[in-house]
């Protein structure tokens, strides 16, 4: 065991502060900088993120994210499962947006197989994925507001999220890790009242978003806590590969639903909200607007769900031809990509997943420098990370 640790596999021993302590300097007032560990057990690191902070008083001088506490080897597991068997595993990555994960995986394998899901399946997939985007953003809004100290919005958010989960439950029997889609289409036909439920939810939800906004958007304290906090410019965001609301809030209009449409997104009209300053407030505004746009897509989609089969002709045993494919979708948190290599057998040779949270988390160090401890939790919240996805 010690051999392993000393073998140079790890460049730094993560469990000691030696690395940072070498650089501890004496500050103006003659007090030493202190190093505190936030997480992995901390109320607002959204799971098991560990952040090592070097503080001068309350000011963050240096920071280091330490991840891997939730690593389950999802990509390795894929190499020992058939293509269908691996599908439920992807739901466990971003567990607040399981439907989106499943969509990305199914479409990647369909691309590899050279089949396409029937139009009816694609529309139903779009509806469920957009509902999932709303649900994911609601979890983000509730926890983000809670981190900044607003205790109440989370209960309102979860009240609405519950309605979405009920729709999922009616559709496929599961609420959280749904495994809603299959490679080639859908396993289940849409239940009779899917359109009605979705319509009712979407119509109610527009007022609910307004309700959240009355609590937060023009609240002086909220403005003070989010404006100018965690700023990242468009160039910086592109340089680190950030995607999703993080890059859109910095003014870059990048949305895969428009750039490379998948499912049925090319049929619907919707806007890509962008911000200007790339701060926490802009990311908040972008996500709020995205929720409205998602209801808009859902309402368009239920107007005209094509009839026909829900499953393309794929065999019971999937043997894609040897080759490789990269397919990305716009998950609630950003670009979720699957790079799948097939060697012609029933099991993938390699599955590499590009999780948006993992890439967006790189922005953390840039964002947090020079801010206070209180802003650290605001920035973790605004990045909207899910550690299941970061660590896989």
């Amino acid at each position: 065991m010690t051999d392993f640790l000393n073998s140079g596999f790890r460049k730094t021993d993560l469990n000691s502060d030696a690395n940072m302590e070498q650089n501890v300097e004496t500050t103006v007032l003659g007090a030493d900088e202190i190093i505190i560990n936030m997480g992995p057990q901390h109320p607002s690191t959204h799971g098991v993120l560990r952040v090592k902070l070097k503080l001068d008083g309350e000011k963050v001088v240096d920071s280091e994210c330490i991840i891997g506490y939730l690593h389950r080897g999802v990509e390795k597991i894929a190499e020992h499962r058939t293509y269908q068997q691996f599908a439920p595993y992807v739901d466990r990555m971003d567990y607040v947006a399981a439907v989106s994960n499943g969509l990305g995986y199914c479409e990647a394998i369909e691309k590899l197989l050279g089949v396409e899901a029937p139009p009816r399946a694609r529309v139903i997939r779009t509806i469920l994925t957009e509902l999932q985007r709303i649900a994911s953003h609601l979890v983000w809004l509730g926890t983000h507001a809670l981190d900044i100290g607003a205790l109440t919005p989370i209960f309102y958010c979860f009240r609405e999220r519950e309605e979405i989960l009920k729709i999922f439950e009616k559709y496929c029997g599961a609420r959280l890790t749904t495994h809603a889609f299959r490679i080639g289409g859908l396993q289940y036909e849409a239940y009779d009242e899917l359109e009605k439920d979705t319509e009712r939810f979407c119509n109610d939800f527009e007022h609910k978003v307004d309700e959240y906004e009355t609590l937060l958007t023009s609240n002086r304290i909220w403005l003070g806590r989010t404006k100018g906090i965690g700023v990242i410019s468009g160039e910086q965001a592109i340089a680190i590969g950030a995607t999703g609301p993080v890059i859109r809030a910095s003014g870059i209009q990048w949305d895969i639903r428009k750039a490379a449409p998948y499912a049925a997104y090319d049929q619907y009209k919707f806007d890509i909200p962008t911000g200007k300053n790339g701060d926490t407030y802009d990311r908040y505004m972008v996500r709020m607007e995205e929720m409205r746009q998602s209801t808009r897509i859902c309402l368009q989609a239920i107007q005209n769900i094509p009839t026909g089969p829900i499953m393309a002709r794929v065999g019971k045993v999937l043997k894609p031809p040897p080759g490789e494919v990269y397919h990305a979708i716009e998950a609630p948190k950003g670009e979720l990509g699957y790079y799948v290599v097939s060697d012609g057998t029933t099991q993938p040779y390699r599955v590499r997943i590009r999780p948006p949270s993992f890439v967006n988390l790189q922005a953390f160090d840039t964002m947090v420098k020079g801010h206070l401890v209180a802003d650290v939790v605001a920035i973790i919240g605004t990045l909207d990370i899910v550690l299941g996805e970061v660590d896989r």
Binding site: E58, D147, G149, Y156, I221, R225, G228, P273, A374
Partner: protein
Amino acid sequence: MLQELYEFFKPHLLPLLYAAVIVLVLPLLAGYVVLLERKVMADMQARLGPMRVGPHGLLQPIADALKLLIKEDIIPESSDKWIFWMAPLLSVTAGMLAMAALPFGPVFQIAELNVGLLFILGISSMGIFGIVLGGWASNSHYSLLGAMRSSAQLVSYETAAGMAVVSAVILGGTLSTRGLVEIQAQKHVWFFFLAPIGFFLYLVASIAETNRAPFDMPEAESELVAGYMTEYSGFRWALYFLAEYTNMIVVASLATILFFGGWLRPFPNVHALNFLDYLPMLLMLLVAGYSLYRAPKQPVAIQKMVMAAVAGLCFLLAVALALPQFAPAGTLLASMKPGLHGAFWFLLKVGIYLYTFLWLRFTLPRYRFDQLMKLGWHFLIPVSIVNVFGVGITVYLSRSTDEGGMGWSVAAAVALTSVVTLLAAAWLAKKGEHEPAPPATPESV
């Protein structure tokens, strides 16, 4: 010998009795304030709150207290044990001592001091030692940060709160808590109407002083886990909790005395409103009736019994409030009326003040520490100084009127000085605002 001893203690018997009542009842009261808080929070968050222990969670505070009592008592190995042990006691003692000078009615007061206000302010600030020492003795970074924040916060807001208190003292001309209420009775007006801005300054400063949201920096759970009490558990932790709620009750009582006429009924001298005297008993009767109505609907037999007991208790209180009201004048019973009714009005006003605390807590996000300091030093303290001048001018302008109450000239003077103070506040707020970033607008494709 015995006779002498009795003679010596005789004047102190009643205060001792009152002190015993406060020490025994206060923890229970604090527990029920917590229950109230949880219920109000649940109501605002579209859920039920505690429902399991007792009907509607009415026995929850007792269950919580029992649980905390029998928990393992952990003192961290690397802590400074004596200080760690002593710090929560300091906080609680300070809070309880401050109660000594509070008049909970014309009769119920442990010690009538001619500098009661000064005593309360001084003693309740001592509670900060418990927090700072506890945070330091825990030998943990989070605790230390919490303690540092707390001390800085209290020092900053004590000044603003003190200035707000001064505005009431100028109006009353006395530092005696009882005297302040009596002067409000004589003048036929609550000081809230003479110094409204003073009251709002006190409201903000008192929330900050008691470390409540949106100023709950020292224990901001999303940042500092639990701030200065991170390392505390079991009954020691409960003592900190008790201290916090005691402090809340103290500042609420102080606000009631300074600005809302203490134990006085609304409009105590207007005979046309004498029917308000029946309000306390009617209110209690109403609560009793509702509890009785809910009793058979409880799911378990024991909960039915507890609910019926609550109804009985409220009914007894109603009777206790009603008897002196209907007793013929001059009897012993009738002489108890000011005390009983005074206590009722006092507690009602304290309750309403506490409710605003809870309301703000569940509505507003938390300030950041530097913003809190800025608000304190750059806004509240200057405004409170202007306010003191304003109140002084009000007193000067209205000194010649013999109208006593809210004469037109007094009202005009109050309005004038308030407007001037508000203008000063607006100017300060404008000046303090840093360059706001241009608003983010979602752009369509």
